[in-house]
Amino acid sequence: MGGVRLIEYAMNYPDKLGKALLEHLEIVVITLIISLLLASILTLLAMYSKVLSKILIHVFSVIYSVPSLALFAIMIPVMGLGKVTAITVLIVYSQYILLRNFIAGLNGIEPAIIEAATGMGMNNMQILFQVRLPLSKKVLFTGVRLAMVSTIGTATIAASINAGGLGTILFDGLRTMNVYKIIWGSILAAGLAIGVNAILSKIEQII
């Protein structure tokens, strides 16, 4: 009985669910693109200075430890409600995951390989792009996967500051005690995270 109603709900409101899913994806994709750009620049800077690398990791780890709901709330007086605020917070969150993996990956190369490369007259940029990057691509990609999955999850909470997405269905359901909304919100959010994780894990094995 419940199952039939659940499907009926989806048949009655496909546009509502679809819109929420697309919105959610939009938030995640925009966040990921900007996050990757920012994290790449910060990693590049961190490769030049061990001190800066430690400071960056420390700062973002402190921010990362703040509960997401609190961080969304803190940002409201500064940036107001809505998608832009949500994406900003999500970007800051994902920096910790990306930077940690990027820096650890690039610095995790066997020292003898770096010594040989330096000794034969490769400059820092050549070592970075021809040696460190290709040898750490798996670790770097793991960072991207983890950041994307965690962004999908945290983006659900972004609905609390009117960012839209699958969280809207969930929060609506909670407010009106509509079980179907709650279940659909959960299924889609969890399904998206699990699906993306599975696809990216497969790619990770190939590269």
Partner: protein, 256 residues
Amino acid sequence: MTHTAIEFSNVSKKFNNAGYNAVDHVSLTIEEGEFITILGSSGCGKTTLLKMINRLYEPSGGTITLFGEDIISVDVVKLRRRIGYVIQQVGLFPHMTIAENVATVPKLLKWSKEKIDARVEELLYLVGLEPKEFNKRYPSELSGGQQQRIGLARALAIDPKIMLLDEPFGAIDAISRMNLQEELLRIHGGLKKTFLFVTHDINEAFKLGTRVIIMNQGKICQFDTPRNIVKNPADDFTSSLITASRNQERFWEGLD
């Protein structure tokens, strides 16, 4: 007429937080074409001495010149490309094939593909590996001895006048090691390059070196031909090295 290839004038190196000089006021002159071995126990400063030549370490004092030119005045990347560098752990790039490894620096210098291919083939023959068999393999598919041969080929790629070798055969089994020593002598003989070879094995040092630098606690104890060192050891440390080696010989004779 000989040219001075490498000259150290009063060179010292003190690492941060160390209370002593790893290399302590060293002066020496090496002529072009010599095969110099640097012998000493671990921590004596022999690797530090070597790594100051390609500026992996910067001296704390003194000057080093290569063919009369102070190395501090040369762009560090350019300096390193003039010097071949081989280390014990080899450090081949695991994501590149053997051919790509050997071609690393020629590629950075944007040589044409034909020139690179020809050079790689020539180098693989030089180090005793069949190009057709090894070109497309990856470093992990090679034995330790074969990997070090590639390390040698890679360091020789753009024909550096000076080769620095930091215990290159230290992790290689006795038989391969003997072969590699012979090949290294052959390569040195054919190329007229200046070789600096760090080792803690006295047999290796005396077998390979036209002259041997004996180091202890950052200082040079003696720098002479193997024959002269054995005839007239300069100090107690040098004599004890020779005595230890002789005792080992006696041990072998006892087994016969």
